[in-house]
């Protein structure tokens, strides 16, 4: 049953050291504010799950909070590499991070299986792919009807999932629209789910019947954080801050510059700061 609480409390009550956690958002609706709050609270030994780790996982890896990453694309989308992740994988700085690497198809199916309460996902994939040789969690099953061998991966079942969404209604139902990505599955696959939203509205009675709405009883906590997806975007509210993605490539290139940036923009900042960051990016309603 969704409670409306401040982000600081929502993160503190729902994340623990050692948790398997997904901060999801497929380019769109990335829950940056929730990650920054987790960084401020200084969690340790997290297992991070995400299809496209991007900036926020680069930041957590760089801050030494991460024990393991389960992912399918560890780049800065459209820009290049994730330099903090590289530094960890190549040089063990600030610590070594165990990696479990999949394809997008595998991760998407694994979240879907988690949402569906299954222990595994079955799909046609990984044929001839090198990952099948280096990831022991890629197995297979044989179709009892055709004899075809299909790929099998374990379902993703995070202890907690964090997502950002457009809005909640007063009961705590949550609406996601635009590129909906893997968010519904990430929430339904998790034991606990925390959602940051741009705003709260009375109800969704005017919404089209087939939109992606998560009922309030699938959500543990909701925090209202306008701009909370920056530098990602929120369809209908503000556009993607592509310049920040390009800038990150510079920031993350150097350990000292990275630490200084984190101190200034994360450690010393608050959830309320996100609203100002998207002010110039807002779209006409």
């Amino acid at each position: 049953m969704a409670h409306f609480i401040p982000l600081e409390q929502a993160v503190r009550e729902n994340l623990k050291d050692g948790d398997t956690v997904a901060f999801e958002g497929f380019t769109h609706l990335i829950p940056t504010a929730a990650v920054h709050e987790a960084i401020r609270q200084g969690f340790k030994d997290l297992t991070l799950v995400r299809m496209t780790p991007d900036l926020i996982y680069d930041q957590m890896v760089g801050m030494g909070m991460v024990k393991k990453m389960i992912f399918s694309y560890v780049g800065n989308p459209g820009v290049g590499l994730l330099r903090r992740v590289r530094d960890s994988v190549e040089n063990g700085w600030p610590r070594e991070v165990e990696i479990e690497e999949h394809s997008h198809a595998a991760m998407a199916n694994a979240y879907e299986a988690g949402a569906a309460g299954l222990p595994l996902a079955v799909f046609r994939g990984y044929r001839g792919a090198g990952l099948a040789e280096v990831n022991p969690n890629i197995k297979s099953i044989t179709c009892p009807f055709t004899g075809e061998k299909l790929a099998a991966v374990p379902a993703v079942r995070p202890d907690v999932t964090f997502i950002h969404a457009q809005k909640a209604d007063k009961k705590g139902n949550v609406l996601i629209e635009g590129i909906i990505g893997i968010q519904k599955e990430a929430v339904l696959a998790a034991k606990r789910a925390v959602v940051t939203v741009e705003e709260v509205v009375d109800d969704f009675s005017d919404a089209h019947p087939n939109l992606c709405i998560l009922p309030h009883w699938t959500i543990t906590a909701i925090a209202v954080v306008p701009g909370g997806a920056h530098p990602s975007y929120t369809h209908g509210y503000y556009v993607r801050d592509n310049a920040s993605y390009l800038e990150w490539d510079q920031v993350a290139a150097d350990r000292d510059r990275f630490r200084a940036w984190m101190e200034e923009n994360v450690i010393k900042a608050k959830p309320e700061d996100f609203a100002a960051r998207v002010e110039k990016l807002r779209v006409a309603k």
Partner: protein
């Protein structure tokens, strides 16, 4: 139209391979530019699909990521990511999977995962994303990349996505029923796999390109077709379309 860069020629040559009846799964970078030039010139009804779930998009500027808002704003419809990979890619509905590559071998196998050993990499690259299954579930795969000895190598460090493996019927032996890479467009030439060996063979060179230039920027011994054609240079419309698109894109990405 006389003055154009090799990269422009590459994008435009790639765009020409696409038709209005194609359903194209678009990778970011050069593939995205080629697909949108095709859409804005000779293939207005092409269906462009990005793995973020956007089906039938028509962006005015090139997306920086595969999930920029404009892809959704201009799409016929936007579905969830699991649906994208299950119904649309795995379902066999993609006619062309359009990929780039960090490392490529002569059989169209692609590496975008690591340089060096997987467990102790010299360079950790972004990894495959959608590519492993784009390479096997799309009806055909087109590849586009600028030539270099570092990029086009005899042996790739990691099989991120499978092309023709060791050549011949290697795909079939692994139970893969799709055609795999059928076209490679570089900044210098157009390549197609040999029908038997599946080794990429130069079938057309771009204006002004010599066989030596192709070999000097390629890490394997290049095969040329009996009859190597010259790629027609970009038309005025093609070049203007591409340059306008790039200009709009640059302006948009640099922010305000």
């Amino acid at each position: 139209m006389s003055d154009f860069t090799p990269n422009e020629m590459m994008t435009i040559a790639a765009s020409r391979a696409l038709t209005s009846s194609d359903v194209c799964f678009v990778g970011i970078g050069a593939p995205s530019a080629a697909c949108n030039v095709a859409r804005l010139t000779h293939a207005p009804d092409i269906t462009l699909i990005y793995e973020s779930g956007t089906i039938g998009t028509a962006p005015d500027v090139l997306p920086l990521s595969i999930g920029d808002g404009e892809l959704c704003d201009t799409a016929l419809t936007t579905v969830s990511v699991p649906e994208m990979f299950r119904y649309w890619l795995q379902g066999g509905r993609i006619t062309i999977g359009f990929l780039g590559a960090a490392q490529l071998d002569k059989y169209g196998n692609i590496n975008t995962t690591v340089i060096g050993d997987y467990h102790k990499p010299k360079t950790r690259l972004p990894g495959g994303g959608g590519a492993p299954e784009i390479a096997t579930s799309s009806q055909e795969v087109y590849i586009t990349m600028a030539q270099s000895k570092r990029g086009m190598v005899e042996k790739i460090d990691f099989y991120t996505s499978f092309g023709h493996g060791d050549g011949g019927d290697h795909r079939k032996r692994l139970g893969i029923e799709t055609k795999g890479p059928t076209l490679l467009i570089t900044d210098l030439a157009i390549w197609k796999p040999d029908p038997e060996t599946k080794e990429f063979t130069v079938v057309s060179m771009h204006p002004g390109v010599t066989r030596e230039m192709v070999q000097e920027t390629c890490g394997w011994q290049v095969k040329f077709a009996d009859n190597v054609e010259e790629t027609p240079p970009p038309t005025e419309l093609e070049l203007k379309t591409l340059r306008d698109l790039k200009a709009r894109t640059d302006a948009a990405h640099k922010g305000k």
